[in-house]
Every structure is written in C-alpha cells, then in structure tokens.
Amino acid sequence: MSFLTYLINGLSLGSIYAIIALGYTMVYGIAKMLNFAHGDFIMVGCYIIFSVSAALGGNSVVGIILAVILCTLLGITTEFVAYRPLRGAASPLAVLITAIGVSYFLENVALLIFGADIKSFTSVIKWEGLSFAGGQLRIQGVTVVTIAVSVVILIALQLFINKTKQGQAMLAVAEDKGAATLMGINVNKTIMLTFAIGSSLAAVAGALLCSAYPSLSPYTGAMPGIKAFVAAVLGGIGSIPGAMIGGLVLGIVEILSKTYISSQLSDAIVFGILVVVLLVKPTGILGKVIQEKV
C-alpha cells in the first residue's frame, strides 16, 4: 500500500515535469535550440495569473487566458529580438548563451517588480481529487488535471504536427532548414510559430506547477526548467511522446529514490539514472537514431 502511495506521489511530480517538458521539447526539437529561458516563461506566466487573480478577487480563468496570450507574445518577441539575429551563426552555442541572457533578464525584471519574497499561489484547481481504498489512497485533483491536460496537449500536438501543413513545415524545418527553405517553407515564420506554441504551453504548465507546489518567486521556473530539459533528453530529443514519458519516469524515479535509497542523495541518483539510460540507449527512450554519413 505504501508503495502505491509513493508511486502516486511520483506520478504527481512526474506529471508536472511532463507538462513542462512538452513545451520545452517543442522548441527544442524544432528550432534545435536549448531555450534556457523556458523555465522563466513559466515563472512569468505564474506571476501574471497571480496578479490578475489578485486584482479580480480570485478569478483565475481570466488570469490563465491572459497568461497564455502574454506568454505567447513574450515568446514571439524574445524569438524576434534575441534569437532570430543569431540564426545561422557560426556556432549553435551562440544562441544558447543568448537564451541564458534572456533568462537572467526575465528573472531580474521579476525581482524588481515583484520583490524577492515568495508568494503563495492559490491553486487554480479547486477539485479535491480521487480517493480509493476507503481514503487510504488519494490522487490529488491537480495531478489528475495535469495528466489529463498533458494527454490533451500531447494528442493535439501530434495531430497538429502530423496532419496540418504548418506542422509538416515544422518537421521539415527540424530536419533541414536549408532544404525546407528550398521547398518554399518560410523558416522564420515556422520557428516563430513554434515559439508561440511553446510559450503558450509554458503558461499552462506554470498554472499547473504553481497549483501543485504553490510557492512563487522569480526563480520558481529555473529548476523545473532544467528538470524538464533532463526529462526531454531522457525521452529522446524532439519526440513529443518521449517528453511525456521522460517527465513521468523522472518524477517517479525521483520520488522512489528519495523513499527507498536516500533523501540526501536523490539528486545524484536521478542524474545517475539519466546517465545509465543514455548509455544503454544513447538517444533517449524514444529518440531516433540518426545514422551519420561521411
């Protein structure tokens, strides 16, 4: 019984990682850039929901909608101002460093506006959750919603990418930018769309992250962002179902290693498992193996 409890706890944590990883992998897989600022987009989304709810007396729906819109705009602007000029730079690392600059920028703006002290976030999910075995096993409402939302996003993204023209264009851009241009695809537009979708997902993920763990500070997004990156790599870079699986696996492994091995060393164990998985399957759980040609 207690194992089941821990497993459910792992699922709760994993579902949060998964939903962040979905947005992360979207940008990562298609624009082929590590958007280190993704975690900070999440933080921005949370602050928007927090402020709007406070201003409207606790109505979070308007807050979420506004957060999605503003995060999308933020994503597009960031892409246009900071990332686009570096497309085609001599090294892919250039844009990575800029992303770090954007991350610092957002964190420090939030610090100046909202102050350093944490704010307690009111959950946007009011539902208590499911209860089994006479109340001994409980799945929180936010966990159920997060998993449901993740699955919906997963299916929607899969359909979008595989069935629509823009989605196909994204795949083409991910495969080969030059060839995509030759096929008449507007690479800049496609990548901008990718960022728009990725950033709007960040706002949704932020709402759920802060509902599950209701502490909001300018640095709220940083660590979940990195964990989601790990989850995305674990699942296989660019694979959307992989991100979901990677997130869930990461959450469950983290909780179980805390439970049965050591709560002090759980970080080391989680990263150790990542190393082992990548050594066995060097492109992640669902990653494609790309044969290199001479």
Binding site: T5, L13, L111, G115, A116, S215, S217, P224, Q264
Partner: protein, 406 residues
C-alpha cells in the same frame, strides 16, 4: 573577420580596465577630498578614509538570486535603523552614512562586496547576512581589525575571531534549545525531522538537535533531507514521518520551504505538531498564504512582527510603509544590529576620526560591557566569544497570529 573580433574585444577590455582603474582612483580621490574638506587639518592616521565627520556603516547580503529575500530584509532594516538614528540626532552627534552591497549568496562575491564597501570608507560592517559569506568576510575584517556584527550569520565559525559578534542565536544553540523545549513541555513522543541537507543553517541545527535528543523523553523516528535543488516536493519526507508515527515534525528550515511543507501536509491529511526555529518566522507574512495551514505551528523565535510593544509596532509600521513588506526576523536582527553598534559606540565615546582598527578595538571592548535591548530581546549581553546571551521565545500560531506559548 576574427581579427576584427579580437580588435574589438581587446578594445573593450582596455576600455573596461581603464574605466575600472579610473573608477577606483575616482572613488579614492573623492573620498580623500571629501574627508579633507570636512575634517580638521591633516591627521596622522594610516588610512585616509577614516577621518570623515560621519560614521560609515556598511551592510552585505544577497540582494539578487534565490536568497534575495533575506539579504533585502537585512539591508532594508539596517537602512531604516540608520535613518532613525540620523533623525534622532545621530550617534553622539555624528551622523551615520550607510551603504549596502550585493553578494548573491556567494562567499567570493561577499568578499568583493566587502572590498567595495571598504573603498567607500566603511568603518563598521553589519553582515554578511548568510553564514558562509559571513565566515569568508570575517577573514578580511580580522585582517583589518574592523568591527563586524553579523545580524544573521548563525554558523559556529561566523564568530571565531574576536572582532566578530552576532545578534542571532547560533545554530547549535537553537538545536539545543529546541530539544530542551520539546522535552520540557512533553510535546511529543515520536519526532520526525525534515531538514535542508544543502544548507549550512539547517544542517547545523539538525546535527545539534539529534545530538541533544539522546536520552530525552522522545524518540526521533524519521530524519529526512531535501536539497536546494529539490525543494518543491516534500511528499516523501512527510509520508515517512507519517508512516513512522511522528506526532511532532521538527523543521529547522526557512519559511519558504516550510510553507510548502505545511500545504502538502494538509493535502495529505497529516496533522502533527510542527515545530520550527527562527527561520520559520515570516511564514505568516507570505503573500496570499493561507494562515489556517499554519495553525498550531510552534516556533522558537526572538521576534514576532505582531508583538504589541511600542518598539516593534513602530518598526513594523515604518518598514511596511517604506518597503511594502512585513519585516521578518532577519530584518529585526539587522535593525537591532545597528542600534547595538550605536550603543557600543556611545559606551566608548568613539568618534568617526578613529582609525578602523582603533574603532574595532573600542567596539570589541564595548560589546562585552553593554546590555542591549531591542526588537529581538529586551536583554542581550555578549561575552568575548561573540555569542549573544538572550532568551529564545517560544510562540505558537493561533488564529493567524503568534501567541506566547508559555
């Protein structure tokens, strides 16, 4: 192309270095001209910055980064104290100047901050806010024999030098006091602990608490850690305490993580007595926090923002007006620190034209003689080791406010 890049970077480098040097000499020259303009004719002191007509007090703390809440509390409250002192006529008639520097919770940057303040002319240091930074800086204040009073550096080693004193309790002190209190008041039979194994403060209290618990009337049934990188999900730690039947959970941690723990315990339907230390103070002022969750939480803290004595009421009012936040225990410690310095200066009739080292010697001597009263205690004395003697107050949270637990 690369050549151009190099030319540019070389240019930028030289511009920066030049500006750095100019900046420094600038600072130095304005300082000397300042002090020459203001003071009595040429004095035979080693350092030119010592003979201004004002006392210069500096503060260091993390103003950006994850620990910014603590550093800002300390630096704001110190600023407020200096303003209050100046408004009331200064120290022995001398006005006080104040400056703060950011250390990003980084010991190396803390030393940089110290050096910056020294260039500014600092004579007395309030800081650093955090333990590791405070220890690193004390190495340098020791060399300069500058008087250092850390409001909140609680690790044992913070005050290992004779020129360093502290306002807060030391970590072991809090561990011992907590164990004593829990046992004396028969609060529990089984105790669970959740601590931050990546934090100096938390581990320090935890270790002493466990040591001290041997032979007490309760038993420690679970000891679980978390780390700074892993401070969002506490379900495992709580579940283990619950499964082990702990009826009291000891939380030697800061209020940010504690607020999450309380929320998660509530979702789990686990309701033991939670027992915290001074880092827990601040939990009631977290914006939008449901204080019902903290109902019944006990903590040992020297300061409570809703105390009704005039000093606290005034301080909280002014702080809230100026910074828009309710002061926590860090702020109270820092506010006291500045007033303790004032009292020490007055006790020795020290003047701003004394050299840093002479001032340090005078204040060192004064500290063991004075008896201070402030926000964090009505009676504080120090011995030469630098540790304060003051009584921890136990409070319990009732209806969203602190109530004395006695």
């Amino acid at each position: 192309m690369k050549k151009l890049g190099k030319v540019i970077s070389a240019l930028m480098a030289s511009v920066l270095v030049a500006s750095a040097l100019v900046g420094c000499t600038d600072a130095a020259s304005t300082e000397t001209s300042d002090s020459q303009a203001q003071t009595q004719p040429a004095q035979e002191t080693e350092s030119s910055s010592d003979n201004g007509a004002t006392f210069k007090i500096g503060a260091i703390g993390p103003l950006t980064g994850g620990a910014a809440a603590y550093g800002n509390a300390v630096c704001n409250a110190a600023e407020l104290a200096v303003e209050d002192i100046n408004a009331a006529g200064g120290i022995n008639g001398y006005q006080v100047e104040y400056s703060k520097e950011d250390d990003e919770l980084n010991a190396e940057k803390s030393v940089n901050a110290y050096n910056t303040l020294k260039d500014w002319g600092m004579q007395i240091l309030v800081g650093s806010t955090t333990s590791a930074c405070s220890i690193a800086v004390s190495e340098y204040t020791k060399a300069d024999n500058m008087f250092q009073l850390t409001p909140s550096g609680s690790a044992v080693d913070c005050v290992k030098y004779d020129n360093v004193f502290r306002v807060c309790f030391s970590d072991p002190n809090q561990g011992i006091a907590s164990a004593q209190y829990i046992s004396d008041h028969n609060l529990a039979t089984k105790v669970g602990i959740i601590y931050d194994s990546s934090d100096v403060y938390s581990t320090g209290i935890y270790q002493k608490f466990v040591d001290e618990s041997a032979g007490k009337n309760y038993e420690i049934v679970s000891q679980e850690a978390f780390t700074a990188d892993n401070a969002t999900d506490f379900s495992v730690q709580l579940q283990k305490a619950k499964d082990a039947g702990a009826d009291l959970v000891f939380l030697p941690i800061y209020y940010q993580a504690a607020s999450l723990i309380l929320t998660q315990a509530n979702t789990m339907g686990y309701a033991p007595t939670f027992f915290g230390v001074d880092g827990m103070d601040g939990i009631l002022t977290v914006e939008n926090f449901d204080t019902k969750l903290a109902e019944g939480v006990m903590l040992l803290t020297p300061f409570a923002a809703d105390a009704t004595d005039d000093l606290t009421v005034n301080f909280v009012k002014k702080y809230e007006e100026k910074y828009g936040e309710t002061p926590n225990q860090f702020a109270a410690d820092a506010y006291d620190a500045v007033f303790i310095i004032k009292q020490a200066i007055e006790a020795k009739n020290a003047t701003p034209d004394m050299s840093i080292s002479d001032l340090g010697d005078a204040l060192k001597g004064a500290m063991t003689e004075i008896e201070a009263s402030g926000l964090t205690s009505s009676k504080m004395t120090w011995d030469a080791s630098g540790e304060p003697n003051k009584e921890p107050k136990a409070v319990v949270i009732k209806d969203g406010a602190y109530v004395s637990a006695e």
